[in-house]
C-alpha cells in the first residue's frame, strides 16, 4: 500500500486541480471585482455586495480584495498586460489615463447610454466634481466609487483646558496656528512639549500643501500648457507656513510613519490633526474619547482636494458581463446604497440626494461636525488627470515636501526642483 502512496497523491492533486476549474452555474453571469478596501471598509463593501447578489440571482459579483492600492495597481497593470483583467476594478485617475490609452477600458458612457432607465436627470443628482473627475475628453469613462475629503480632527477636552470653545474649531490657517500655540504645552517643564498643537506625517503635509495651494488661488499644474504650477509664490508661501509651524513656532512635529500622527492623536499627545474623512473609521478602535471633526481650515477662499478612487469596466469582458457590471455600478451608486456606503465608511456619498436619507441623517446626528465636513464637497476640486502626475506626486512629495519639512532644502528650492522634474515628464507624455 505504502508503495502506491505517491501515485495516490498525484491522483489526488490532479483531481483537486480539476476541481479548481471554473464552476459557472447555468444562466448566472459572474463578474470579478478587484478592490483595495480592507478592514472596516471591506466589511461594509462585502455586506453591500452580498445584498446585491441576493437581490440579483442572475448575477454574481466576486469581490477580491488586493489589500492595498499599490498591490491593486500592480495586479491591474499586470493583468492587462497578460490579457486577463477583472471585469471591474477600483482605479485612480492617474491610472485611468494609461488604461484608456492602452485600450483596456469600456467607457461607462456607452453602457449608460444603452440603459433607458438612466437618463441625464439621474446624472444631475451626482456631485459635479465627481462627474468631472471621471470625464476624459468629454466621455464619462469611469464612475465615482469611494470618494473622500480631508478633515480636521481635534481633541475637545484639550480645547476646553486651553480655554478654547470645543464647538468652534479653527476656520483659517492663521486661526489654526493661533489655536496650535495655545494647545502646545510643556507640562513637566523639561523644555520639550508633551502636548502638541498638531503633528504631520509627510503624506499629510502633502495633502495640506495641495489644499492650501488651491485655497490661495494657486494650481498644481496646467494640462494645456503642460506645465507644473505649484512652485509659484503661493505654493512657496504655503510650504513655508507648514515649515514654520515646525521650525519657527514649534507647535508641530513630523512623525515617522504614514499614520503615526493618528496614533499620537488617539494617544492624547496631539490636539489637532489633519486627516482624511475616513480616518475616523480607522481610528475608532484606538480612540478613548470622541473627537471633534470639522472642515479643514481655509485660506483666501474655500477649496479642498477630492481623494479616493473610481470604478472602471474592462474591455476584455463579455457583453453579458458588461451589462451585469453596469447593473451593479448603477445599483451601488444609487441613493440608498451610496448612503449606506457612506454610513458604514464615512466616504462621501456620490449623490446629493443621499444626504437627505434617514440613514445619513442619523449618522449626522450621531457625529456632530460630520455634515459640515462632508459639505466641503461643494467647493472640492479633483486630482490632476494626467499620467505624469503619477510621477509628479512623487517628485513633489520627495523633493519639495519632505525636503523642506525636514529642513534639508528651502521651500522655494525644493518646489522648483520638483516642478522642473514634473515639467520634464509632462513634456514627455500626453
Amino acid at each position: 500500500m505504502l508503495k502506491r502512496l505517491p501515485y495516490l497523491l498525484i491522483l489526488l492533486t490532479v483531481l483537486s486541480l480539476i476541481g479548481c476549474g471554473k464552476r459557472q452555474e447555468k444562466g448566472k453571469t459572474e463578474i470579478t471585482f478587484w478592490h483595495a478596501m480592507g478592514g472596516p471598509l471591506g466589511k461594509t463593501l462585502n455586506g453591500l455586495i452580498e445584498k446585491f447578489n441576493q437581490a440579483n440571482p442572475d448575477v454574481r459579483i466576486k469581490a477580491v480584495s488586493m489589500g492595498t492600492y499599490t498591490a491593486l495597481s500592480q495586479k491591474i497593470m499586470a493583468s492587462v498586460s497578460a490579457g486577463n483583467p477583472p471585469t471591474i476594478a477600483q482605479v485612480y485617475e492617474n491610472w485611468t489615463i494609461g488604461l484608456i490609452e492602452g485600450g483596456a477600458l469600456v467607457p461607462l458612457q456607452e453602457l449608460m447610454d444603452e440603459d433607458p432607465s438612466f437618463g441625464p436627470e439621474e446624472l444631475a443628482d451626482f456631485f459635479p466634481v465627481f462627474l468631472k473627475g471621471n470625464t476624459y475628453q468629454d466621455t464619462l469613462w469611469t464612475f465615482p466609487f469611494n470618494k473622500g475629503l480631508p478633515a480636521l480632527y481635534y481633541n475637545r477636552e484639550m480645547f476646553r483646558e486651553a480655554g478654547l470653545d470645543p464647538n468652534t474649531p479653527p476656520r483659517t490657517w492663521l486661526e489654526f496656528l493661533n489655536y496650535a500655540q495655545k494647545l502646545t504645552k510643556d507640562k513637566d517643564g523639561d523644555g520639550t512639549p508633551d502636548q502638541w498643537g498638531t503633528a504631520f506625517s509627510i503624506p499629510t503635509c502633502m495633502a495640506i500643501f495641495q489644499s492650501m495651494l488651491l485655497q490661495n488661488g494657486g494650481r498644481i499644474l496646467d494640462l494645456r500648457k503642460r506645465e507644473a504650477l505649484f512652485a509659484s509664490p503661493i505654493g512657496i508661501d504655503a510650504l513655508e507656513f507648514l515649515v514654520d509651524l515646525v521650525k519657527r513656532y514649534k507647535v508641530a512635529y513630523i512623525t515617522s510613519g504614514a499614520y503615526e500622527h493618528q496614533t499620537d492623536f488617539a494617544a492624547g499627545r496631539v490636539a489637532m490633526i489633519q486627516g482624511h474623512i475616513v480616518s475616523l473609521t480607522y481610528m475608532k478602535p484606538q480612540l478613548t474619547f470622541s473627537p471633534g471633526i470639522a472642515p479643514i481650515p481655509q485660506g483666501k477662499k474655500k477649496a479642498v482636494m477630492v481623494t479616493g478612487t473610481n470604478i472602471a469596466v474592462f474591455k476584455s469582458s463579455t457583453p453579458a458581463q458588461r451589462k451585469a457590471a453596469w447593473k451593479f455600478i448603477k445599483w451601488f451608486t444609487d441613493t440608498p446604497q451610496t448612503a449606506q456606503w457612506s454610513k458604514g465608511t464615512n466616504y462621501v456619498p456620490v449623490r446629493r440626494s443621499a444626504l437627505q436619507t434617514p440613514a445619513l441623517g442619523e449618522r449626522f446626528q450621531e457625529i456632530p461636525g460630520l455634515r459640515e465636513t462632508m459639505m466641503q464637497i461643494e467647493y472640492a476640486v479633483g486630482q490632476p488627470k494626467c499620467a505624469a502626475w503619477f510621477e509628479g506626486r512623487r517628485y513633489l512629495e520627495e523633493d519639495a515636501i519632505e525636503g523642506a519639512m525636514r529642513g534639508y532644502v528651502s521651500a522655494e528650492k525644493g518646489l522648483k526642483k520638483a516642478a522642473k522634474k514634473l515639467n520634464r515628464e509632462l513634456q514627455k507624455k500626453k
Binding site: Q74, M77, G98, I202, P203, R394, E397, E402, Y408
Partner: protein, 317 residues
C-alpha cells in the same frame, strides 16, 4: 542489464529535468524576455521598437545614478563588515565550550526569521522618540539621532559633531542608509557564520596540533592554517554576500519613507528604483527592464572580476 551508451548519457538529463524545467521557465526565459522588453517602448502593451533608446535615457537619468551610488554604498557597507564579523564569530563559535548549541542557535535566529517581520521590528528600534537605539544612546549621554529620517551623510555627521565642515558630496551614505546596513548585516550574519563554521570544521585538527608542537600561537596558526585553508569558503561568502547586497529591496521597501527610498532619496537603491519605474509609478516595463539588465551586467562583471582577481588567492585544499 546492459545499458547502452546513448541511454547512459541521457539518463542524467532525465533526473535533472524537473529542476531544469523550473529554472528555465522561471529564471532563464524571463531574463531573456526582459532583454527583449528593454528594446521597446513598453507600458501596458508592447509599443515602438526603440533599440538602445531606454539605455540612452538611463544614462541621462540622475535618479538612476543616485540609486547606483546608494547601492554601491550599501554593498561597500555590508560586504566587508559582514565578512569580518561572521568570520570572527565563526572562529569563536568553533570552540568547545558549554551550551555551544544555544549560542549558535542565537546567531542563526535572525536568518530564519522572516525579513518582513525583522524589518518591522527594526523600524521600531530606530524610532526617533520611542526606539531602543536612541534609548541606548541616551544611556551613554548621546543626543537622540534621526536614524531612518536622517538624510545627512554619515561622514558629514561625524565631522559636524567634532566641529569640522565637509562638503555634501563627501558626506557618504546617509544615516538612514547606514541604519539599513546595520540591520542587514545583523540579519545575514548567521548564514555566513554557518558557512564559515562548516569551512572551519573541514580543516584537519592535526594541522593545529602540529603547529602547536612547532610553537605557533593562536594568531600564527590562524594566519598560516585557518585563513588559507578557509579561503574557498571565504571566497564563496564574498561572492554571495556581494550578489545579495546588490539585490537589496525588502528592508528598503518596508523601513523607509513615506515616500519610500527617503529621506531625500538617500536609500533609493537600484532594485527599488526598478520596482518604482516598472510597478509603482508609470508602469514603464521597457525602462524597468533596461535597469534590470544594467544591474545584471554589473553583478555578472563583478562576479567575473572577483573570480579573476580573488580566486587566484584561493587555496582549494
Amino acid at each position: 542489464m546492459k545499458v547502452s551508451g546513448y541511454r547512459k548519457r541521457l539518463s542524467p538529463l532525465f533526473y535533472l529535468l524537473p529542476a531544469l524545467v523550473i529554472i528555465i521557465a522561471f529564471r532563464l526565459l524571463p531574463i531573456l524576455y526582459s532583454f527583449f522588453v528593454s528594446f521597446f517602448e513598453w507600458k501596458l502593451k508592447r509599443g515602438a521598437f526603440v533599440g538602445l533608446g531606454q539605455y540612452k535615457t538611463l544614462l541621462h537619468d540622475p535618479i538612476f545614478w543616485k540609486s547606483l551610488l546608494n547601492t554601491a554604498y550599501f554593498v561597500l557597507g555590508t560586504v566587508p563588515t559582514s565578512l569580518l564579523l561572521s568570520l570572527f564569530f565563526a572562529v569563536l563559535l568553533n570552540q568547545r565550550i558549554r551550551a555551544m548549541g544555544a549560542y549558535r542557535t542565537t546567531f542563526f535566529l535572525p536568518v530564519i526569521t522572516s525579513l518582513v517581520a525583522v524589518s518591522m521590528v527594526w523600524k521600531w528600534i530606530y524610532h526617533p522618540r520611542l526606539g531602543l537605539a536612541n534609548f541606548l544612546l541616551g544611556l551613554i549621554g548621546i543626543k537622540p539621532l534621526g536614524w531612518l529620517n536622517e538624510p545627512t551623510g554619515i561622514f558629514k555627521l561625524t565631522a559636524n559633531s567634532i566641529g569640522l565642515s565637509i562638503p555634501n558630496w563627501l558626506g557618504g551614505p546617509s544615516l538612514a542608509l547606514v541604519a539599513i546596513i546595520i540591520m542587514s548585516v545583523w540579519k545575514g550574519l548567521g548564514y555566513n557564520i554557518v558557512l564559515f563554521l562548516a569551512g572551519l570544521q573541514n580543516i584537519p585538527k592535526q594541522l593545529y596540533e602540529a603547529a602547536r608542537i612547532d610553537g605557533a600561537g593562536p594568531f600564527r596558526s590562524f594566519r598560516r592554517i585557518t585563513w588559507p585553508l578557509l579561503s574557498p569558503t571565504t571566497f564563496y561568502v564574498l561572492l554571495m554576500t556581494t550578489i545579495v547586497s546588490f539585490q537589496v529591496f525588502t528592508q528598503i521597501y518596508l523601513m523607509t519613507g513615506p515616500p519610500v527610498g527617503g529621506p531625500q532619496g538617500t536609500t533609493k537603491v537600484i532594485v527599488y528604483y526598478l520596482f518604482e519605474k516598472g510597478f509603482d509609478a508609470g508602469f514603464d516595463r521597457g525602462y524597468a527592464s533596461a535597469i534590470a539588465l544594467v544591474l545584471f551586467s554589473i553583478i555578472l562583471s563583478l562576479t567575473l572580476l572577483q573570480r579573476k582577481l580573488v580566486e587566484r588567492k584561493v587555496h582549494y585544499g
